[in-house]
């Protein structure tokens, strides 16, 4: 007998087919199914069992426990089964891009392994061209998105406080109280006060109190890559809501291409583990599979009518790929810093974000997990007994670190294309990521490194590491590759996230961001998905 989980056949008479069960797609799915539409969600990856989260924690902390094969027999890395031929990619830019560390395929998407920081973009982020003559303006502004930000905060259960003097205006408090500052935050506060860098709370998509049927945080300390308590938001919550409202979610169903008649999409053609292909017809299709796979699917759907890829008459599909660059400085001081009790941050600073020189926005983060965790260090040590304890005592307890996210401006040469020389497990060309870091971002990284060093010097810290413009890496936020705009010659989707070239195609997620600011993108992704669901509901 075939169980529902094994039935991957198409849904007849679907209203909406959503490709991707991460937060962008799951929120749309929940809203539209609750509005009475027949919704089907296709995801390339599996469902991950909630009951396995503590085993995943075990695998994360203990060397040798890692899952090394997937159900299809492929060798994979990490807790979430990424890697192998299914997820093959190339990286051909001047800066290596570790794509498979930066995403998760499966129900929940990248919220399965994310940190969970959720702040609103600032007003300047929507008007970078008008204000500063760089990048491009969004076709909507903060005022347009403001009510959807409030809705998104409720959807994700954001714990926050209205204590950020740099934040854009808001009406209502966050749905949950902010997590109190850490002991190390209080140490940083001394230095930041003298440097005129006001600290404030971090909005977290993590329950400071029980919320939405999930536990409050219990302090496992392993938020990234796995939260065993369920206190950290994952898009599985919205998938569950969508299914409760009648949506059908089909896992392990990678969409191969979008079949279309030149003007409208007729079906999403997807494969299933038994080797067959199916066609999911729907009145509307929502692409929500991330800033890389959204692009690949449009390019794989090229036709005589759309020789450069579906919805790509502008040539912008895949271009303007942006991430946020990490910058950081760490060291040790001569007093306890109490790190690694929790895996999230409680304080940050947006003082280096608006109207600064260099221009790219910078968000300072005061880490609560600087230095080694004794558990992990013990399990990797070449020693045991009293000498191990001595070395753990020596290495733990006095580390501090200040991190930062640094904005990248959109650059056409940073792009996602197809690498026709390499194919995935279905014979499709894999994505090629071309990523580089521009001079303005490098300058901003160097500037924030100076600030970070100044903070640690105020504390008489011995600085022992710096991540600067040469060492920087991505924060795993894939933005800009199907940009939003009013001009079909310059952009891929309109301000409602509906494709210019294809009437029944909508795109959700950070690939529609014209610029990326310096804030973690998921709250904006969620706000846009709430807005998209409203617009699509009206369109239906």
């Amino acid at each position: 007998m075939t169980g529902m989980a094994d039935d991957r056949s198409p849904v007849p008479d679907a209203d909406v087919c959503i490709v991707g069960a991460g937060p962008a797609g799951a929120i749309v799915a929940a809203h539209l199914s609750e509005a009475g539409h027949d919704v089907v969600v296709l995801d390339a990856g599996p469902r991950f069992d909630l009951d396995d989260r503590t085993e995943q924690l075990d695998a994360h902390l203990r060397p040798g426990v890692e899952e090394t094969t997937r159900g299809d027999g492929e060798a994979v890395d990490g807790l979430w089964g990424m890697g192998g031929k299914r997820d093959a990619y190339t990286s051909s830019g001047s800066k290596e891009y570790p794509l498979n560390a930066a995403r998760v395929k499966g129900v929940g998407g990248s919220t399965l392994h994310w940190q969970g920081m959720v702040m609103r973009l600032h007003e300047r982020d929507f008007e970078l061209q008008s204000r500063h003559g760089v990048g491009t303006d969004w076709p909507i502004d903060y005022t347009d998105l403001r009510p959807y930000y409030a809705e998104a905060e409720a959807e994700l259960g954001v714990a926050g406080a209205a204590d950020n003097p740099f934040a854009p205006p808001r009406e209502d408090p966050h749905p949950l109280p902010a997590f109190p500052p850490s002991h190390s935050d209080s140490i940083f506060a001394e230095a930041c006060e003298s440097l005129e860098l006001p600290m404030h709370s971090v909005p977290n998509a993590r329950n400071s109190e029980p919320y939405d049927g999930a536990s409050a945080c219990v302090g496992y300390g392993t938020c990234k890559p796995v939260c065993p308590s369920g206190a950290k938001y994952t898009a599985e919550r919205h998938v569950a809501r969508a299914e409760a409202a009648g949506a059908r979610v089909i896992d392990r169903a990678p969409v191969q291409r979008l079949a279309h008649d030149g003007e409208r999409i007729e079906a999403a053609v997807y494969a299933t583990p038994d080797g067959t292909e199916h066609r999911q017809n729907a009145r509307a299709v929502v692409l929500a599979c991330g800033g890389v796979e959204n692009v690949r699917l449009l390019l794989l759907s090229a036709s005589d009518d759309h020789p450069d890829g579906l919805a790509n008459s502008s040539g912008a599909v895949g271009r303007y790929f942006m991430d946020h660059c990490f910058a950081g400085v760490g060291g040790r001081i001569d007093r306890p810093t109490r790190q690694n009790h929790v895996g999230f941050n409680t304080s940050e600073c947006h003082a280096l974000y608006d109207d600064v020189d260099p221009l790219p926005g910078v968000k300072l983060e005061f880490l609560n997990y600087a230095g080694p965790s004794p558990v992990s260090e013990a399990l990797h040590a070449d020693d045991w007994g009293d000498s191990l304890l001595d070395s753990l005592r020596e290495s733990y307890g006095t580390h501090l670190a200040v991190g930062a996210l640094v904005e990248q401006f959109p650059r056409a040469e940073n792009r996602i294309t197809l690498d026709h020389s390499t194919t995935d497990d279905h014979g499709n060309p894999v994505p090629d990521v071309r990523w580089s870091i521009g001079p303005e971002t490098r300058a901003a990284i160097e500037r924030v490194n100076e600030v970070q060093r100044a903070i640690l010097r105020e504390l008489d810290a011995e600085i022992d590491w710096t991540v600067g413009s040469d060492e920087t890496g991505p924060a795993f936020h894939h933005m800009g590759t199907t940009r939003m705009g009013t001009d079909p010659d310059e952009s891929v989707v309109d301000p409602d996230c509906q494709a210019h070239d294809c009437d029944n195609l909508w795109i959700a997620g950070s690939s529609v961001f014209p610029t990326g600011g310096g804030m973690n993108p998921t709250l904006t992704i969620a706000a846009l998905s709430c807005r998209l669901a409203d617009r699509l509901d009206e369109w239906m």
């Binding site: 945080c217 496992y220 109490r338 009790h341 007994g385 009293d386 191990l388 753990l392």
Partner: protein, 182 residues
Amino acid sequence: MDLSRRDALAALAAAGVAGVAGAMVLDDDEGRNRGDGSLPDETLAALVAVAETVYPEAADGIEPFVETYVAGRIAADPAHREGVVTAVADLDATARDWVGAPLTDLGRSARDQLLRDLSVDVADPDPDGNLAAQVRFYLVNELLYAFYASPTGGRLVGIENPAGYPGGTESYQRGRMDDGDG
């Protein structure tokens, strides 16, 4: 520094078997698991011997801690039980072969030397690896994980809520360890 069965249960919680630990482990007055998944006495004794080697000398109460923790893990995972039993048997056979005595008859320093002579200290833990890798995985790291992911082991280092232990969201706010028991 006295290890307790509470520490063992905390370690079990960290290892993902909290829900069954209380019911399946503490089923007699001594806290020993006498269910179907229990370990042979000689295996438990060998595990305690390894724990006495890899734990700091200040650790007391090792035997009930190990019996509770390992029994809990075994009860939750039969494949893990087989790995532990096999690793102990192979290590014990090596002790008899190399130094002419069972593992449990060796003193602390002799056990330490045996493990180092086997290169367990520098072995990458691997449940499917050679003897050193399996001993590191099933015995040494199992025991170190239980210890340093517990509040008592963490406190020796200076952290009462170590990674993997669900110790709440109060301790990160404090400037020093509280005086509680974890």
